[in-house]
Amino acid sequence: MIVAERKPIDEIIGFIKNYKKILLVGCNECVTVCYAGGKKEVGILASALKMAFKKEGKELEIEEVTLERQCDHEYLEEIRSIIDQYEAVVSLACGVGVQFMAEKYFSTPVFPGVNTCFLGVTEASGVWTERCQACGQCILGQTAGICPISRCAKRLLNGPCGGSTNGKCEISKDLDCAWQLIIDRLKELDRLDDYEEIMPIKDWSTERAGGPRKVVREDLKS
């Protein structure tokens, strides 16, 4: 899922300090799971903002809405009937949702409430780590299900570098060496021969480095 973190309150206050009536929109998917922008967090942020404004002697009217997602037309349409009542929107969705909201509601200022961090997993309660960089050319089949593009600090494709020590990456003792993990797993799966096959130079054109990307399915277009 997409992992995000709430922005510092004073940054959010900076965005909306001149408004009196705003819509605070959460998202029921990824940001709910990482406790950054779901219904609960919308409630907490609304309370915090109201108090911060009241402390300055100002009133802030906030309507709290949590949509199923903010990256699909049908869900964003749900607020069309009410959005004109508000001076601005603070969206707690990931960057995707904030942008889609801004595109759909062209004349309403939209501000982000979270910093979108990465695509990752819930490793443990309260701990989220990166797993995928959306490079567009998945090689997990050859690397026993562990991605060197996202988990190797140097994104190496053919084995660990000299800095790999005791299974840890040289940049941090808390970071596992992705290639150590790959080799361990290939050993477990009895596929160490796969390790001997050299992976060719990666075609990075499908990565973000090649420009903003698009996927089209002709069979699904209406």
């Binding site: 004073d10 609960k40 915090a48 108090m51 009241k54 300055e56």
Partner: protein, 118 residues
């Protein structure tokens, strides 16, 4: 036990402090509370095992949030009192009362009052 404790305390009863969530503490301050404390069982003695530990973490989080918005995390505290310890309950109530009195009223009330006066 007929012990006396300050009348500034309003008690909200819960089955376990594990039920307390960040929003409850935030709303208490939003509605004008000058101070809030969460009184849970002694650590290791929670009937539901970890409820008071969860509450402790949520209180810490809310304290930081209150600092961020300028209300002040020192107005919120977590205390651990055994269910049968009446004297300690009264003692904590008196301590919190004195502490909050020294801190003054909730700043969100202050601003509106000052504006009205101005």
């Amino acid at each position: 036990m007929r012990l006396t404790y300050p009348d500034s305390i309003r008690i909200i009863r819960l089955p376990c402090t594990g039920k307390v969530d960040v929003i409850h503490m935030m709303e208490a301050f939003q509605k004008g509370a000058d101070g809030v404390y969460v009184a849970g069982c002694l650590e290791g003695e929670c009937h539901y095992l970890t409820g008071n530990l969860k509450a402790k973490k949520r209180v810490e989080y809310t304290k930081k949030l209150l600092d961020e918005i300028g209300v002040g995390g020192e107005r919120l505290e977590m205390h651990n009192i055994a269910a049968s310890d009446g004297p300690r309950f009264a003692e904590v109530a008196k301590e919190m009362h004195e502490k909050i009195k020294a801190l003054g009223p909730n700043p969100i009330k202050g601003a509106t009052l000052n504006k009205k006066a101005a």
